[in-house]
């Protein structure tokens, strides 16, 4: 049955659900609230794909991969609350600093409670910092280039992470990263259509920033903490994806249909450069 096919569960389902939901929310929410709340479509698309592929985990969840589901639920709900209430800048700033730490605490609580060595503390601090940096860069990309730019960065980073996870012997984490890319892709497709037709840059939204961002960070944290075969250096290199907007700002040109059509594609290609480098490195490290 098609629904039992993992690639269908993590590829087609989140893409279609996120795209359909984004359209529905845009229509129901109207021109003001619709774009602001559309990010919930990516959040729900990912959770649905997770539930189809892994099943809804028990609560409390014993394993980090199961904890990821509830981390995304909490982060997405917090982001949605922010979107609903008009996105207080100070609250959003605090959340992007605090959330990566909370995610680490939640995913690795048992190991932390058992005591950690100094080197492990340094790793945890680097993970916290890297996570906060990624969330901040997503926000900056939205401010500078609109929601589509931030969504493209999230998609490319998720696909890069999927490759690194696959090289690191964890296919289920790789497929969950594909699910995230597909869910964000559903919303990005809608945003791309709006950009082409109306030349309007929609928002990324705090729901996608924290829901999608926490899914990406959670997967990366699980890879670093519990998947020794996954390349940490490749994951570090992948962080450069979140600086694609800085390089892309030099490429922006006119407002013709052609330039609008090509702009996001060039942006994605730029973001893909560090992702491909990270994948190449992971391949070299993991061997044939």
């Amino acid at each position: 049955m098609l629904l039992d096919d993992p690639m269908f569960q993590v590829g087609f389902v989140p893409l279609l659900v996120a795209f359909g939901l984004a359209a529905f929310i845009r229509i129901i929410g109207g021109p003001e609230r619709g774009p602001r709340l559309m990010g919930v479509a990516a959040f729900i698309g990912f959770l649905l794909a997770y539930a189809l592929f892994e099943g809804v985990p028990p609560f409390p969840p014993p394993a980090s991969k199961q904890k990821l589901f509830y981390l995304v639920v909490l982060a997405g709900a917090a982001g949605f609350a922010l979107d609903l209430t008009g996105r207080s800048a100070s609250l959003q700033r605090s959340m992007r600093m605090i959330f990566p730490g909370l995610a680490l605490l939640w995913l690795a609580w048992r190991q932390l409670a058992a005591g950690v060595a100094l080197a492990e503390l340094a790793t945890l601090a680097a993970l916290w910092g890297g996570g906060a940096l990624a969330l901040w860069r997503l926000e900056r990309a939205e401010t500078e280039g609109g929601g589509l730019s931030a969504a493209l960065m999230l998609i490319v980073a998720a696909l890069g992470l999927a490759g690194i996870a696959a090289m690191g012997s964890s296919l289920s984490l790789a497929l969950l990263a594909v699910a995230l890319a597909a869910a964000a892709g559903g919303v990005a497709l809608w945003g791309y259509g709006v950009w082409l037709v109306k030349a309007t840059r929609g928002p990324f939204g705090a729901t996608t920033q924290f829901g999608g961002g926490s899914a990406l960070l959670g997967l990366a944290y699980i890879l670093v903490l519990f998947t020794p075969q996954a390349s940490r250096v490749a994951l570090l290199l992948l962080l450069l994806v979140f600086f694609a907007d800085m390089a892309a700002s030099r490429l922006r040109s006119g407002n013709t249909l052609r330039s609008r059509a090509l702009g996001p594609i060039l942006f994605a290609a730029l973001a893909a450069v560090p992702a491909l480098a990270a994948l190449g490195l992971a391949t070299l490290i993991s061997g044939p």
């Binding site: 014993p62 394993a63 012997s169 964890s170 296919l171």
Partner: protein
């Protein structure tokens, strides 16, 4: 994979069966060099893949007068999973399956032993895998209880058992690619224990 835990349990049960009445309550330590914990997993319906755990330890207590009062405890290092293929073993250690970095050990602790025949019995116990504890039962056959015949063993008393059982990996949260990769795991145990 979970079979590793089951095997020691089976041994414990076997010890309680068919043992000479002169034996009293004895404690045995599992001899890992002459014990094996195998598991069989269906591979896409084509065949069953066989694997085993290389690093485990455990003890069992056997009372020949009252086999049902015995007990078994086993701990298995999940990172020691071995299917004779390095890449596949790495995958089995990953969060997809045994999640060895997060859950380095799985364990079995018996809760009851039922004698079912002259040399057979059922060992029921709590198995903990991936942070989930569930009851499982292993059918065991007692093979032999006697001093080791080789001189370098200095006459240590050895007990030997065989065990067979099965479990559903998804019960323990190990759901990756189930049921394409079999959910039902068959477990084979061949256990020897040295009297301690």
């Amino acid at each position: 994979m979970q079979a590793k835990i089951l095997l020691p349990a089976i041994f414990g049960a076997a010890l309680m069966l068919g043992v000479p009445a002169t034996q009293a309550v004895e404690r045995f330590e599992i001899d890992p060099t002459h014990s094996n914990i195998f598991f069989l997993v269906e591979h896409l319906g084509y065949s069953r893949m066989v694997g085993q755990f290389q690093d485990f330890s455990g003890v069992f207590v056997f009372d020949t007068q009252d086999p049902g009062s015995g007990s078994v405890e086993v701990a298995i290092k999940t990172a020691s999973v071995d299917t004779d293929h390095d890449k596949r073993d790495d995958h089995l250690r990953s969060p997809d399956f045994f999640n060895a970095a997060e859950f380095p050990e799985m364990a079995f602790k018996s809760t009851s032993i039922e004698v079912t025949g002259d040399k057979t019995g059922k060992i029921t116990g709590e198995m903990t895998l991936l942070g989930v504890t569930k009851p499982i039962t292993i059918d065991v056959t007692f093979n032999k209880l006697a001093p080791h015949p080789l001189p370098q063993y200095n006459g240590v008393v050895v007990a030997g058992f065989s065990g067979r059982g099965s479990l559903k990996r998804s019960d323990f949260g190990m759901k990756t690619f189930a049921p394409a990769l079999g959910d039902e795991i068959e477990v084979w145990l061949e256990i020897e224990g040295h009297k301690s």
